[in-house]
């Protein structure tokens, strides 16, 4: 997922603060979310993810600070914000004694949808989420995965511009979890919905979000693109080039590129570090190819988000 240069920030947090009984639960000092991106809010239990989401849905009132969502201010236009934000709350909060269809109808009507439009949307959402066959079953009888999907459909019923998902894959088995992530990705791609996903589950965020904020004790520790964050934390990135055949004169070529550091060779592989891969890798590859190197692969030595997360949270 790439951000186009024209992308604008549609969620701007301005020292958004919530205290409970004088104790600060959340202090979201300024970060922004660009239109159409999937943004991850990552933090351990009690970090303040749910509270942040409740502030952004206008369910909780900030103790201090403000946020701007699609040009509307939480402090002034909270009802407009409620109408353009959709939420999948932490407890899915469905009506067990109503069917999937009835749950969706109720919310659609609360958002003021006209009947014809409402029924069409429900049909589409049920089809999109493979729920059509169970639409007349009481939600109380549903499995966790199905409940999650109904709750997601509910969050989408009014076609929100901003979708807030509070731990959407928790309690799901891996198959269901990856399926739900596919739906979310498809949504973002198809409709350009801006999506914020909270999670304490690192792997979830790593392969779905383009940008993340890591929070702990209500405070933002770090915000940025995943690679950007990694570079910020470790200060450099590591790459590995695999060649069909290594020739000694490649050494000279590689060492002549500025910005390359800590070069190591082993068999047909070259390892190196650099700070600014965007500036280093293209000329490096070009030079190698001109020297008739047969490159099989170039890959980044992955530091998982797990490493990053632990380093940030525990200061390891």
């Amino acid at each position: 997922m790439y951000m186009t240069p024209s992308s604008r920030s549609v969620v701007v947090l301005e020292k958004l603060t919530k205290s409970f009984n004088g104790k600060i639960a959340v202090y979201q000092n300024s970060y922004e979310i660009e239109e159409g991106t999937i943004f991850g809010l990552l933090g351990p239990n009690g970090a303040g993810k749910t509270t942040t989401i409740r502030l952004l849905t206008g369910v909780l009132k900030p103790s201090e600070g403000d946020a701007e969502i699609y040009g509307y201010r939480l402090s002034r236009n909270v009802n407009v914000i409620r109408s353009i934000v959709g939420v999948l709350p932490e407890n899915r909060a469905l009506y067990d004694r109503l069917t999937a269809q009835e749950n969706l109808e109720f919310y659609g009507k609360l958002y003021g949808l006209k009947d014809s439009e409402l029924y069409e949307r429900i049909r589409n959402l049920l089809a999109f989420l493979d729920l059509h066959d169970v639409k007349d079953t009481f939600v109380g009888k549903f499995s966790m995965g199905m409940r999650q999907k109904v709750a997601l459909a509910r969050a989408l019923i009014h076609q929100p511009k901003l979708l807030l998902l509070d731990e959407p894959t928790s309690n799901l088995d891996p198959v269901m979890s990856s399926k739900l992530k596919d739906y979310i990705k498809e949504l973002s791609g198809k409709l350009g919905t801006t999506i914020l996903i909270s999670s304490h589950h690192l792997a979830e965020i790593e392969n779905i979000c383009s940008k993340i904020a890591i929070i702990n004790n209500g405070h933002v520790i770090s915000v940025g693109g995943i690679n950007e964050l990694k570079r910020k934390i470790w200060g450099y990135r590591e790459f590995e080039i695999k060649l069909l055949e290594f020739k000694p004169d490649f050494k000279k070529i590689i060492e002549s590129i500025s910005g390359v550091a800590d070069i190591m060779y082993s068999d047909n592989k070259i390892f190196y570090k650099c700070v600014d891969a965007e500036k280093v890798n293209p000329p490096l590859i070009k030079a190698l190819v001109q020297a008739d190197a047969k490159i099989l692969s170039l890959k980044e030595t992955e530091r998982t988000l797990e490493d990053l997360y632990m380093k940030l949270i525990r200061g390891e």
Binding site: L60, R82, V85, A93, R97, L98, Y107, L110
Partner: protein, 265 residues
């Protein structure tokens, strides 16, 4: 205030809470039969001998036009039947909202289903009004049925003896028309307050039983002749109810707002 939003809430809740709850649905169907037909009929029938052997020591105010033509036994019978049939029919609009509102307010808290509702543009008042309608509509519907049934069944039994319709007399009719909506509303607001303190439907409905108190007070003051059953008494009672309802409404609005509600989800 968008009235249609409250209607949407009430329609959803009547389906969810009334039509799909065995307890409440059976109350809605059984109460009018028991309190509106069986008990008034039994009372009207087994107390017919009172007419011949009146209970003494009671001074009963005129309850019908032709009051002084009726012998003391008949007067007592009219008083007795109106009071008991009245009590039975006034219990329902108090108790039905206890159970519905317990589910609607404390139940929403127990099941933790409120958060996405509060994330929609609904106002606190629209939500409260919708939930009030959820209790009021079934309560008033049941009352109308039950009262109609009791009027028919009591008079079918007594008409052959008296030759005129002896129930309901004017004060009881006034209680039915003005008192029932007020008493149902009173129950709803009491339940809003109760539900803000307790977390379970069962607890809420048990505590909610207190709403029966003003009715019991009215009933016993009549039975023991502390006050007379008259239009004046009922007017005072209705005025007190109006004050109570208005006071409880403001108290309810105070606890029923997003900031307070979210603490319970």
């Amino acid at each position: 205030m968008r009235f249609e939003i409250s209607i949407i809430v009430a329609r959803k809740e009547i389906k969810e809470i009334v039509l799909r709850s065995k307890l409440i649905l059976s109350m809605v169907f059984i109460l009018p039969v028991v309190f509106g037909v069986i008990m008034p009929c039994v009372l009207a029938w087994i107390t017919l001998p009172m007419i011949a052997a009146p209970v003494t020591g009671y001074s009963i105010p005129p309850l019908t036009d032709n009051w002084f033509l009726i012998p003391p036994g008949g007067q007592f019978y009219i008083f007795f039947i109106n009071l008991y049939a009245g009590l039975l029919n006034l219990i329902q609009p108090l108790m039905i909202p206890v159970y519905i509102a317990a589910d609607s307010f404390a139940g929403e808290k127990e099941r933790r289903t409120l958060e996405p509702v509060l994330a929609t543009p609904i106002t606190d008042f629209e939500l409260l009004f919708g939930k009030a309608l959820t209790s009021l509509i079934p309560a008033l519907t049941v009352s109308i049925f039950s009262i109609s049934l009791s009027v028919i069944s009591v008079n079918v039994i007594s008409f052959q003896v008296f030759g005129f319709i002896l129930y309901p007399v004017a004060p009881i009719l006034m209680l039915y028309v003005l008192g029932i909506p007020l008493m149902s509303l009173l129950t709803v607001f009491v339940m809003v307050l109760v539900s803000s303190k307790v977390n379970r439907v069962r607890e809420a409905s048990q505590v909610g039983g207190v709403v029966i108190t003003p009715l019991i007070i009215l009933f016993f003051t009549q039975i023991f002749g502390v006050v007379e059953l008259s239009l004046l008494t009922v007017t005072v009672y209705i005025l007190v109810l109006i004050f109570a309802v208005v006071g409880l409404m403001f108290a309810s609005l105070k606890v029923f707002n997003r900031q307070k509600l979210i603490e319970m989800i």
